[in-house]
Amino acid sequence: MALTGRLRSAVVIGGQGIRARKLRTFLSMISLFLGVLAIVAVQASSVLANRALLADIEMNEGKDGTVVVGVPPGTESVSAVLDLVTGHPGAVATTSTGAIIGEPGLTPVNPGGVPLRYADQGGPAMKMVCDGRGNCYSEVSDDKPPPRGNAVELLVVGVTGDIRQFRPFQLEAGSWLDFGGQPSMSPRLVLNREAAEAFTRYQLPAEMTIGGSGSQPSPGSPHPTPRVVGAVHDGSSQPTAYVRADELLRWLPETSNAAQSMGILMTPQASASITPALRAKLGPELAGQIYTHTVDSRERIGGQLDMMKWIFYGMAALVLLIGVAGILNVGLATVGERVEEFALRRAVGTPRLLLAGIVLAETLIIGLLTAAAAIAVGVVGLEAAGQVFGANRPTLQNVEFPWEAGVAGVAAGLVAGVLGGLFPAIRAARIPIATVMRA
């Protein structure tokens, strides 16, 4: 009862104070606005940047918690892995190899499967090499290259199941691979953006030479005619095509198994049964070359953006501080102006703590209103940025305003309110009542 009386009195007195000084309240908000907006913007961009980075890493490496196993190359490994993984719901095996699509017998525009922006740049002859951890990269080749021509080198990744449960690719056109039914005689490909770009940039005959540019196309190299069924965004800048592993293996000569790189992506549960079984199958020597790690990108990239984040936070805090100085200045001036009112209110029995609380509450309300305004501007700004730049920056498309930025804005508003209101509140509490008799 006593408490509600206080609260209600505080609301009435505070409301009268704000209404009597609307312009001043507004000016305080303006002084604070940029600071709070800066905090909101920094927090929002840091969260969004983190998310984008994480999304890229997830597409490239796998979601956090995914167990990644690299298997040493070799015919035994391939069959062991396929045996264990094919059809397993919690595991997907990948087998990567290079392939050239285009006119046979020519050096591709991007030897070694490098990103297209390096295409047609000459330089040393490159070849694609895949290691035992499932990573493929380009290396300088000593072989004498055939003439360059209308061909593109791709990384071809055979998958035994839907890899998207671990690496959340975004489907951009057509459809994803269909793992039901018998393998098709003409391999069905899903291209990544870079590979799709190659197809639109160059007039490529639909002929594929599996094996890559590094190895001189031997007379025995298979020349299947692939069908492109879809396109995905996989976060990679290397032209890549995904294909059913069984369709790929059908075309791969047994001898090329040595050049292949195999990997397994699986859930921890699946790994618990598959990894030991794989070790047993491969025997002690090959098992020793198995490489296993669990994806923990969130933790790893945590540090990467922190430095920048704190620098920006420092600058935003400075802007906020200027705003606090503004609100403090206005607050002190207001209390100075209200000395008689406060003395009188104390004379009629208003507790000093209540008056101090009202002064503090007024600036807190200003802080919160400012935070609301800054958050609103942030939401609208993000929306507008998506509309304007979204076309060429997909990371800005349909981005929801991160709640963390809202929290940061409210916190900044509250902190500014407390900092800006505390001194005026203390000053208000110290006004002697006898002021009303000395005037």
Binding site: M1, A2, T4, G5, R6, R8, S9, A10, V12, I13, Q16, R19, A20, E340, E341, L344, R345, R346, A347, V348, G349, T350, P351, R352, L354, P432, I433, A434, V436, M437, R438, A439
Partner: protein
């Protein structure tokens, strides 16, 4: 002289002292003030400017505490009452009127009066509050000005709003520090009428004034001189 039944004094000051320290030396202002005020009694305090009349009222009104002596309210010792309780007592027991009116210019007359009700000491619903405020404005004769802001009121009307503000909680004691100091003689007399009327309802009144005519309308007149309260008229007890 008729003998009135023994009645608990509203307030009783026994040998109250107060020293104020400004910029210079600490200066004893009150050096042993005795004063008793009963319900319905009115007391005028005269004294030169700077003699300590306001200081004395600020002790009685619990704006401040005495350095020495004893202060009883309804017989209870409140010489060293803590600030929280003092605030409650100021709200419940005292009404204050000052030389300047101290009306908040952005509030109407009614809202200015209601200020004494909206002070964190209990809560009255809006309708009850309005009724009380109107009754107080009625009591000082300006109910028709309830919606006016101070800027539209004359000095006498403003002081009557201030008196309504002092009366709205139905205090036991009214403390008035030179309430007519800023008013012309005629208006001042009207204000004294309004204050005096409150004593008819059993309210105690302590009036600090320089005006002998106003002082003489009180039941008793005392003078503050050299830090002591002395009778101003022969035969009248302090």
């Amino acid at each position: 002289m008729t003998v009135t039944p023994i009645q608990q004094p509203l307030i009783q000051l026994n040998g109250v002292t107060k020293t104020l320290k400004g910029q210079g030396e600490p200066r004893p202002i009150l050096s042993g003030v005795d004063l008793t005020v009963r319900a319905g009694e009115s007391v005028a305090i005269l004294g030169r400017s700077g003699s300590g009349k306001s200081t004395l009222l600020s002790l009685i009104g619990l704006f401040d505490r005495p350095d020495g002596g004893q202060y009883l309210l309804h017989g209870a010792d409140i010489t060293r009452v803590p600030e929280r309780r003092a605030a409650r007592l100021r709200s419940q027991e005292f009404g204050f009127v000052f030389q300047r009116f101290f009306l908040l210019k952005h509030l109407t007359a009614a809202q200015n009066v209601a200020m004494a009700l909206v002070n964190g000491q209990g809560w009255l619903a809006r309708r009850k509050r309005r009724a009380r405020v109107l009754a107080a404005l009625e009591q000082v004769g300006i109910a028709h000005l309830a919606k006016h802001r101070p800027a539209r009121l004359s000095g006498g009307e403003q002081q009557r709003v201030a008196i309504a503000r002092a009366l709205v909680r139905q205090p036991r004691i009214l403390l008035a520090d030179e309430p007519t100091g800023a008013l012309d003689t005629e208006t001042g007399a009207l204000v004294i009428d309004v204050l005096h009327a409150a004593t008819d309802r059993g309210c105690g009144l302590i009036l600090v004034t320089h005006d002998h005519a106003h002082a003489n309308r009180m039941g008793r007149v005392v003078r503050l001189r050299d830090g002591l309260l002395v009778p101003d008229r022969a035969g009248v007890a302090v």
